[in-house]
Symmetry: C2
DNA sequence: TGATAAAAAGGTAATTCTACCTTTTTCATT
DNA sequence: AATGAAAAAGGTAGAATTACCTTTTTATCA
């Protein structure tokens, strides 16, 4: 291999980030361009530093999260390969992110050698999916026409996300209505719509969804 | 300093564990005895390996979590210093764990140099607390008599945890009653008790608590 | 301006959850 | 066998949530 693979790591957990960087530095083929704490930080550093071939990108970050970073990076630098670091394995999220432009997924509790493999794989073949991801993909692609509408349906709009956040803050529908200057009834209707969209039966399921998706500020 | 400080790292996230170990190996004063994936794994390895002076211990782990490990280690090897790795900064947890025998706390998103410092500090002075922890301590010790009862009240027993888990699986009280062969009424009473213990207003707060504490399997 | 879709709000009802009680049952310990 | 504590269950009631509708308002675009 002629040149080294340029890699950037974007994660707000310093300890985790420094750790993985220390590991990757041990590989001769790899060159760590730079690290960043979040999407905003990443794009700032992108101006000055070498453009990476591959970035390892955390999903849950303050300021600018993994999804927003993926979307923006795809527009500005479509040639950069993106590997998403996931905490729990979230199937819906995976298909969603592939549509947004992610090239691979790496559970944060993954074995070390798979981390190395994933970078080689993404760099050479353009993608890396472990078993779980592949399975999720197959399920999703079974009825490929449904993919787009599924995500239009499962994605919450701004107002709905705001309501979910207030629910997670233990507010009741009347309280949320007061907060957002809407009637209790409107909030209730939104709640029903949200439940339908995320496939939850009740408030408990809703909160679980919110936590998994990192909707909580 | 005559001898190196022997350190063990216990964390189920391989990536994180290997990362921090790689970092610590760079410090001359440190010697990494061994790593473990959880409490059970740790005690097994403790039989064969050198007894560490300090262990870095993750709170959220399957099989045997940080709390259980702290308690057991305190009984068997009271001279070993324990630094707890915390995800979010959870005040109640901190005072609780100090009572159980922890010597220091390290948020997982802490700066690198503080990791090194914390190990030196724990080894030499017997403790390490950053600002947040200290503040939490002051608040907790303001009314020192209340400390013990607070934790007895905030801790959930087995049955209560089971109920919380079923709530998080979107089951309703009647369904949980059927599942556990108890009346709906009993479940409702448990729910009330749980809400009181964890200081939640409603199901949303309950689920948030469960997620934060890692009660979900 | 008129058509259309989306957002907001209302109607109604069943179910569930929250709250504060009391009573019964179970179990361990003296 | 008696006691006391904890678990289980019942009573009652009000508030909140879930469910499925219809109607009104708002915004947008042709």
């Amino acid at each position: 291999m002629a040149n080294k693979i340029n890699i950037a790591v974007v994660d707000d957990q310093q300890l985790f980030r420094k750790g993985i960087v220390a590991l990757l530095r041990q590989i001769k083929d790899f060159n760590i361009c730079f690290e960043a704490e979040n999407g905003e930080d990443f794009f700032e550093k992108l101006e000055d530093e070498i453009t990476p071939d591959v970035i390892l990108l955390d999903l849950q970050m303050p300021v600018m999260d993994g999804i927003a970073t993926t979307v923006k990076l795809k527009k500005r630098f479509p040639e950069v390969k993106i590997i998403i670091l996931t905490m729990h394995d979230e199937e819906e999220m995976i298909v969603h992110l592939i549509e947004k432009g992610a090239h691979g997924f790496l559970p944060k509790n993954e074995e070390i050698k798979n981390v190395i493999d994933s970078i080689y794989s993404v760099h050479q073949t353009g993608h890396f999916f472990n078993e779980k991801v592949s399975q999720a993909l197959v399920r999703g692609l079974m009825s490929s026409k449904k993919i787009t509408p599924i995500f239009e349906n499962t994605e919450l709009n701004e107002r709905e996300i705001k309501i979910v956040q207030l629910i997670c803050k233990e507010l009741t529908s009347p309280e949320i209505g007061k907060e957002l200057l809407l009637s209790t009834k409107t909030i209730d209707n939104h709640r029903m719509e949200i439940l339908k969209k995320v496939g939850a039966r009740n408030t408990a399921g809703l909160v679980m969804y919110a936590m998994k998706k990192g909707l909580i500020s």
